[in-house]
Amino acid sequence: MRRWLAWTAVLAGAALMLLPFWCMLVFATHGRAEIFQAPPPLWFGDGLAGNLAILRERLPFWRNVGMSLYVATLTTALALLLCAMAGYAFAVYRFRGQRPLFVLVVVSMMLPPYLAMVPTYLVLDALHWIDAPRALWLPGAASAFGVYLMRHYIAHALPRSLLEAARLDGCGEWRIFWSIALPQCRPALGALGLIVFVGSWNNFVAPLVVMRSMEHYTLPLALRTLQAQLDTQWGALLAGSAIAALPLLLLFAVASRQLMAGFAAGISGEE
C-alpha cells in the first residue's frame, strides 16, 4: 500500500514536471487565436506550418539555429579543455598565488552577471569583436563554475598514485594530464559539458549586447524579437521555443540513462 502511494506520488510529480513541455509542443501547433481561448487546446492542431512560415518570414530562423549550435559546440569544447587544465592545476599542484587565484575564481561566481554587460561590451569593442561569433564562445569558455567543478572532481576522484607512477615512468607533465588524468575525468567532463552547452544554448544576454546582424543571433535572442509590445505571434514564438528545446529533449530521450549516470559520477566527490 505505502509502496503504491510512493509510486503514485513520484509518477504524478514527474507528470507535472513534464506537463509544461506537453503544452509547449501542443501550443506550437496552434495559431495565436487558438492558444488564447477557453479552454485552451490540449491536443495538436494544424498551425505548425503557419507558425514556421512566420518564423521564416521574420527571422533567418534556420541560420539562427545553426549559429546556436555553432556557438554552443565551440563554447563547450573549449570550456572543457580550459576548465580541465585549470582545475587540474589547482587540484594537483602547489604553487605560489594558488589560494588568492582560486578565491578570485570563486568570488567571481557570486557577482550578478548582468552588471558585467556594459564593461564586457567595452572590452569586446576594443578588441573589434562586436558581431563576431568568437565574442560569444571565447568569453563563454572561461567558466568559473567549470574550474570549481573540475578541481573538486580531480581532487577527490583522481588517484594521486596514478600520476606519481606516470611521473616515475618519465612522462612529461602535459602527457600525464592529457593521457592519464583527462580520460579519468570523463564523467565530470560529461557533466560540465552538459551544463556549459545548456548555458550557452539558452543564453540571451551575451548575444543581445554583442550581435549586430540578425544572421548572427542565437535562438533565444532571435525568438525574443518576435515579442512586440502588443502584437506578439504567440504560436510562432512557442513553435520556435519548442524547436529550441527539441535537441535537448531528444538527447534526453535517447541517452537519458548514460547522461544521468555520467552526470552523477561527474558531480560526485564532495563527500
Binding site: A38, D131, L208
Partner: protein
C-alpha cells in the same frame, strides 16, 4: 608610368568596391521592421550599390542594446529607431547627431510634420530625431454593450464624472466592466490642461510636479473607479487583457489610433461594426506611443542615413503604405500624407465612422509637451504609488508626497 596608373586605378576600384559593399544599417524594434521592408525596394532603386541591412530586436532589447552601444560610442547602426518613451534620455545623451545643424537643417522641415511630434524631438535648439508615426488617441468603446445599457456616447464623454457614472449603470445593467485598469484614467487625466512647453512630470525648471492638483485629481478619479468596481483589474496589453477585449468583458479602452488594426485583426475579431471611437472624457488630448528615427553621432555614413530617414519619414506614398499595412498601422507623422482620400474613408469595423479624420484632428490639437530625461523613472514611481492607493488603500496625499520624494532623490543626482 602607365604601370603606376594601372595600380592607382586598381586601388581606387578596390576602395570604391569596399565602400560600395558596406551596407547601411538600420536598427529597429518590431513592428518597424515592416517599415524597413516597405522601403527596401525603393532604396534598392536609388542605391543599388548600398544594400540596406536591418537589425530587429525586441522593444526592450533594442533600447538596451542602443544604450550599451551609445555607452561605448561604437557599434552603432547608421539609423536608429527610438520610441518616444526613450527619447528624453537618448536626446540628453549627446550620442545622437544634431539634425538642426548643417547639412541637415531639419528645422526647415518642421511644418511638414504634426507639431507636437516634431517638438518632442527638439531639445534646447537641437533636433535629435525625426518622427515617423504617432498614436493620437481616443476612447474606443463597444457601442452594442453601451446601447444595451441604454447609454449614449454623449453621456460619458462630457466629463470624467459622467464617464464613471455611466460605468456604474453599465455594470449594473450588463455586468460588463467599464475599463481594464484605473491606471488608464490616471494616465489621461494627468495630461489634461497641459499647454505647449509644459512637462508631464517635471516643470521647465526640472522640478517634479507630482503633488499638483492634476495628479491629485488623476489619483482621485482612478480610485473612484476602483472603489465602484468598474475596472476588470487587468494590466493593459497583457494576454489576459486581450482575452477580455475579445470576450467583451471590458466595454471601453482608451488607446492610440493603431489599436483599431489590432482589434480588427486579432484582439476582437468578428466584432465588426460594434466598436466606436470617440473623444476622451473631458476633452483631454493624449497620445499613445510614437516612433522616431535618429542618426547616432558615431555613424560613418551620415549622408546616406539622412537620405534614408527622409525617405522613411517624408515619402508620402511610403507613409501611407505603412499606415495601411495591417502589421504596422503606423499613423503618419507627415502632415502631407494626412490629406490622402484614405483618411476620409468610412471604417466598417468602427460602424462606418470616419475615424482617421478624428485622429488627424486629435493629433493637430495635441499640446507639444517637453520630455525629461527622468520621465520613465517618474512614470514608474507614480504607477507604483497608484497601485498602493488602489490595492492597499494608501492615502492619496501621502502617496503623492512619497512619489515626489522618490523622484527628487533621483533628480538631485546628475
Amino acid at each position: 608610368m602607365s604601370f603606376r596608373i594601372v595600380i592607382a586605378l586598381v586601388l581606387a576600384g578596390v576602395a570604391l568596391c569596399a565602400r560600395a559593399a558596406e551596407p547601411l544599417t538600420v536598427a529597429v524594434y518590431p513592428n518597424l521592421d515592416e517599415a524597413i521592408r516597405l522601403v527596401t525596394p525603393l532604396w534598392r532603386q536609388r542605391h543599388p550599390d548600398v544594400p540596406l541591412k536591418f537589425i530587429a530586436r525586441n522593444y526592450v532589447d533594442h533600447h538596451n542594446a542602443m544604450t550599451t552601444a551609445l555607452a561605448a560610442g561604437s557599434g552603432l547602426p547608421d539609423v536608429m529607431a527610438v520610441e518616444v518613451g526613450y527619447l528624453g534620455r537618448f536626446a540628453a545623451s549627446g550620442g545622437l547627431t544634431d539634425l538642426a545643424a548643417a547639412p541637415y537643417r531639419a528645422g526647415r522641415l518642421r511644418d511638414r510634420f504634426v507639431r507636437y511630434a516634431f517638438a518632442q524631438a527638439e531639445n534646447g535648439g537641437r533636433i535629435v530625431a525625426i518622427p515617423t508615426d504617432l498614436g493620437p488617441g481616443g476612447l474606443f468603446y463597444r457601442h452594442d454593450i453601451f446601447s444595451r445599457a441604454g447609454i449614449d456616447e454623449a453621456d460619458f464623454t462630457a466629463s470624467w464624472e459622467r464617464y464613471l457614472s455611466a460605468g456604474r449603470r453599465l455594470k449594473a445593467a450588463t455586468g460588463v466592466f467599464l475599463l481594464a485598469h484605473p491606471r488608464e484614467i490616471k494616465d489621461i487625466v494627468l495630461r489634461s490642461g497641459l499647454k505647449d512647453g509644459e512637462g508631464l512630470y517635471f516643470n521647465a525648471a526640472g522640478q517634479p510636479q507630482v503633488e499638483s492638483p492634476r495628479f491629485v485629481r488623476a489619483f482621485t478619479l482612478a480610485r473612484a473607479a476602483r472603489v465602484a468596481g468598474l475596472d476588470a483589474r487587468l494590466t493593459p496589453y497583457s494576454a489576459e487583457w486581450s482575452a477580455a477585449l475579445r470576450t467583451g468583458r471590458v466595454a471601453s479602452q482608451p488607446g492610440g489610433a493603431w489599436l483599431v488594426g489590432h482589434l480588427e485583426d486579432w484582439l476582437s475579431p468578428g466584432t465588426d461594426g460594434r466598436w466606436r471611437v470617440t473623444r476622451l472624457p473631458g476633452g483631454t488630448r493624449a497620445a499613445w506611443g510614437g516612433s522616431f528615427y535618429a542618426i547616432p553621432a558615431a555613424s560613418r555614413n551620415k549622408a546616406l542615413a539622412w537620405e534614408l530617414i527622409q525617405l522613411l519619414t517624408m515619402d508620402r506614398a511610403l507613409q501611407l503604405a505603412a499606415f495601411k499595412s495591417p502589421r504596422l498601422n503606423a499613423f503618419p507623422a507627415l502632415r502631407t500624407a494626412q490629406d490622402d482620400p484614405f483618411f476620409a474613408q468610412p471604417m466598417p469595423f468602427l460602424g462606418g465612422q470616419r475615424a482617421r479624420l478624428f485622429w488627424r484632428e486629435a493629433a493637430a490639437e495635441m499640446p507639444a509637451l517637453t520630455v525629461h530625461r527622468l520621465d520613465p523613472v517618474a512614470e514608474e514611481i507614480v504607477n507604483a504609488e497608484l497601485d498602493r492607493v488602489l490595492d492597499d488603500g494608501k492615502d492619496i496625499a501621502t502617496a503623492l508626497a512619497d512619489a515626489r520624494r522618490l523622484i527628487e532623490r533621483r533628480v538631485r543626482r546628475p
